[in-house]
């Protein structure tokens, strides 16, 4: 119950982490099934229909429900600490964002149990996603589930933007913010401008499917390429929404374990902004083969290649940070160092794909699959593992086991390269993506076999990580404030895990890497920026949970509103939109309750803080 009503950003972070882990596991199982099916030619482990559902759900789950919440978990857990804030700007909305995300994800995954998962690919291209080609409710689960989950992401983005703009500690100017805070800021801005586009796209597709609208049906005058434009004007920025936080994590881990400040801090900031800006300019590079014309292809080709410049700046800055540093090869740092060459390889194949004429060859082959998995798994997931290992003691008060962590790292990274490196060649040999099987003796057999073995090794790596987590939780929570001893940013100046109010006194920031600066000045704690006083805290509330339940019910009701049930009562409930109305009443009722009854929260008294032996 405590967890359902919480508005504490650190608890919401743990909720995000658990939900992300759950969906990551589901997406991972789907991936392993795909690889087992493709292990040998003419395999019939799953039917082609199930295969279509597996590839669709694997992509959708991993992008929207697996890695996004884990990124949000880090942002929630660490960002307020890094900028010296007691909380996020809107604690209530923070909880609402999590619950809408979770219920959207649950709705999407219910499709497995309720008559067929979405089967039109994670991009849901029309006309494949139209009722003519996909006549189960699968794509409806996709549109409505993602709509609800996307709402949560948008809320989270706005929340972080407001938090960073208004709640930085005194002295924490923008150019003194840690890189992870910067990437959170830029990522949130991208979420704000990218997600409404997919909101509209999903609405249009829903209307086409449920209300019989004609946005994408050619007979009705609609235009399927319109879907691609809307999808990718969101979808391309989404790639950077995913990878920028990983850049942020790497920019925290490498300096800490090199005992050096981040090389080229300000160029890192501007590279981040430039990547975000260019990320919005290149969506049509996913559409070179739709016939946009040579001029459009050339422009989008060049703008795409431009992104290599700020990305290269970042890579070299990380290398220069390590150069001459006292590098410690902890597990977190292994992931960060493993990230560098892997991500560069993903970037190089990105430049290859950005060349429009070459893309006509690579299009829809495993070369593309290899490219984006190098970016998203080799970039983002390694970044996530680095962040998990690095911030685990701060979030839970316990250090993960280092030896087991290193074994996990080697399993994962060897498995990763085995899986995806060979897929470049599979693609060049002509193996198509999204196809359930292939003929033998085309030179594809051995490489596919190797790829599947690699996927299984990655699976072993993930299981080892989970074992590590279980082992760690059996130990007492006794991690010190600054367990890595070389912590540079504010989160390492307070206890692990932090108290509910984060900072008893808001710290005064006197430079970049605020905590490192104090340590170098010989101080054992931050200089407070304010006298000890009562701390205002928001109250716990079940309303965000109830609102999300309402939206969930309404979504289900809307989806089945045209269905013929065997049962007269069910027909009555769904076909008259009664279920929709009940759901919306719950949501709007909760909103009205929130509006009419003010809740002023509560205060922690200074005396109470001293009783608890408050640090700082």
């Amino acid at each position: 119950m405590d967890w359902i009503t919480t508005v504490d950003h650190k608890k919401i972070a743990i909720l995000y982490l658990m939900a992300g882990a759950l969906f990551f596991g589901i997406g991972g199982i789907e991936a392993i099934l795909i690889r087992i099916q493709l292990m040998e030619p003419y395999n019939q482990i799953v039917s082609t229909q199930i295969f279509n559902e597996l590839i669709t759900m694997h992509g959708t789950t991993m992008i929207f429900l697996g890695v996004m919440p884990i990124i949000f978990a880090f942002m929630n857990a660490i960002l307020p600490l890094q900028i010296g804030a007691r909380d996020v700007a809107f604690p209530f909305l923070n909880a609402l964002g999590f619950w809408t995300f979770l219920f959207g994800g649950i709705l999407l995954n219910l499709s497995w149990l309720m008559g067929g998962a979405p089967d039109a690919g994670w991009t849901s291209y029309v006309p494949l996603a139209s009722t003519a080609y996909s006549d189960t409710h699968g794509v409806d689960f996709y549109t409505i589930g993602l709509q609800i989950a996307g709402l949560g992401t948008l809320i989270g983005g706005i929340n972080f933007l407001a938090t960073i703009i208004t709640m930085r500690a005194p002295g924490m100017s923008f150019m003194r913010m840690p890189m992870f805070a910067w990437t959170t800021f830029i990522t949130s801005a991208m979420i704000l401008f990218a997600f409404p586009a997919i909101t509209v796209g999903l609405v249009l597709l829903t209307f086409d499917r449920i209300l019989g609208a004609n946005f994408f049906s050619i007979e009705g005058g609609g235009n399927p390429v319109l879907w691609q434009h809307i999808f990718w004007i969101f979808g391309h920025p989404e790639v950077y929404i995913l990878i920028l936080p990983a850049f942020g994590i790497i920019s925290e881990v490498i300096p800490t374990f090199s005992r050096k400040r981040l090389f080229g801090y300000s160029s890192m900031v501007f590279a981040t902004i430039l990547i975000a800006f260019l990320g919005f300019m290149v969506w049509a590079h996913h559409m070179f083969t739709t016939g946009l014309g040579t001029i459009a292809n050339a422009l989008f080709s060049i703008s795409t290649m431009l992104i290599a410049v700020p990305t290269g700046i970042k890579i070299f800055n990380w290398l220069f940070t390590m150069w001459g540093g006292q590098i410690r090869f902890t597990t977190a740092n292994l992931y960060a160092i493993g990230f560098l060459p892997t991500f560069v390889m993903g970037g190089v194949t990105g430049v290859m794909l950005a060349s429009a004429p070459a893309d006509f060859q690579f299009h829809d082959t495993y070369f593309v699959v290899a490219h984006f998995h190098y970016v998203i798994v080799g970039g983002l997931v390694l970044g996530i593992f680095a962040g998990l290992t690095y911030w685990w003691p701060k979030m839970f008060g316990r250090l993960l086991n280092e030896t087991l962590g290193k074994i996990t790292f080697w399993f994962f990274i060897i498995g990763f390269h085995l899986t995806f490196f060979v897929q470049h060649f599979l693609g060049l040999l002509g193996m198509q993506r999204r196809v359930a099987t292939y003929a033998p003796d085309q030179g594809l057999d051995e490489l596919n076999y190797i790829s599947t073995i690699g996927a299984l090794l990655m699976g072993v790596g993930v299981i080892l990580f989970l074992i590590n987590v279980v082992i760690t939780f059996r130990k007492p929570a006794d991690a010190p404030n600054d367990p890595w001893e070389d912590g540079r940013t504010l989160e390492w100046s307070i206890p692990s895990p932090p108290p509910e109010h984060n900072f008893t006194q808001i710290p005064l920031v006197r430079g970049l890497d605020a905590w490192w600066k104090e340590k170098m000045a010989g101080n054992t704690k931050m200089t407070p920026a304010e006298p000890l006083g009562p701390i205002h805290m928001p109250s716990a509330t079940p309303l965000p949970f109830l609102m999300s339940v309402g939206i969930f019910i309404a979504g289900l009701g809307f989806m089945f509103s045209n269905d013929e049930f065997g049962n007269g009562f069910m027909n009555f409930l769904f076909n008259n939109y009664i279920v929709v109305i009940i759901g919306l009443l719950i949501t709007f009722g909760s909103m009205a309750a929130r509006s009419l009854f003010d809740d002023h929260g509560w205060h922690i008294d200074p005396e109470e803080l001293e009783d608890k032996g408050a640090k700082i």
């Binding site: 706005i158 208004t166 409404p196 586009a197 509209v200 249009l204 209300l211 809307i230």
Partner: protein
């Protein structure tokens, strides 16, 4: 961090009560950010409409449908409601709660007037002009864009209605003031979107 107060600071409300607390300032800032997202949302809907506005298949075209005097009247009503919401905010800055409530009520009534005209317009199209959601890509784009705006108006009316109730119950405080200020920004935003709809959908529809 400033905590919210039910009563005014030192028994006196500051000139701009919506910006008196950190919560209030956050609310205003967060809302501006939200409107940035809304701008993208409507931008995408406009792009969709522009891409599909000539795809009428066999159905009615914009020129067959639109009746500019009716739309003009609706536009006038909505623009005036923006003005009355400005008066409401001015009254709030002078701490005149009575006037504030009155202007908000006028705004809501004008909003209802606009919404009734729109419902009447849609009703005419569907029943007498044989122009429904499924008629053509143009009709789908039209109803989605204009309907989304209409839904925003309806939401605004309900929201400001609840705020009027709050004002009666709690009066003007540093807690209620940011809500009223934010709802006024929202109302202006709806108005601005309508100006674009009037131009892009209706005027352009009559020209070509």
């Amino acid at each position: 961090m400033t905590s919210p107060h039910t009563e005014a600071v030192n028994g006196q409300l500051p000139h701009e009560p919506e910006k008196a607390t950190l919560e209030g300032r956050n609310k205003v800032l967060g809302f501006w950010l939200f409107l940035g997202g809304e701008a993208v949302l409507f931008g995408t809907l406009f792009a969709t409409f522009l891409a599909l506005r000539d795809q009428t298949v066999e159905g009615p075209t914009a020129n067959d449908l639109f009746h500019l005097p009716l739309v003009g009247a609706a536009t006038f009503i909505l623009l005036v409601s923006s003005l009355t919401s400005v008066f409401a905010i001015q009254a709030m800055h002078k701490h005149n709660v009575k006037k504030l409530i009155s202007w908000l009520i006028v705004t809501v009534i004008l909003g209802l007037g606009f919404l009734s005209l729109e419902i009447y317009e849609f009703y005419e199209y569907v029943v007498h002009k044989n122009f429904g959601m499924t008629t053509s890509a143009f009709s789908s784009a039209f109803y989605t864009l204009v309907g989304f705006h209409g839904a925003h108006v309806a939401f605004g009316i309900a929201w400001i209605g609840i705020l009027i109730g709050q004002l009666y119950k709690k009066g003007l405080t540093v807690v209620t003031a940011p809500k009223i200020y934010v709802s006024a920004i929202y109302w202006h935003f709806i108005d601005v979107v309508w100006v674009f709809i009037f131009t892009v959908v209706y005027l352009l529809g009559k020209v070509v």
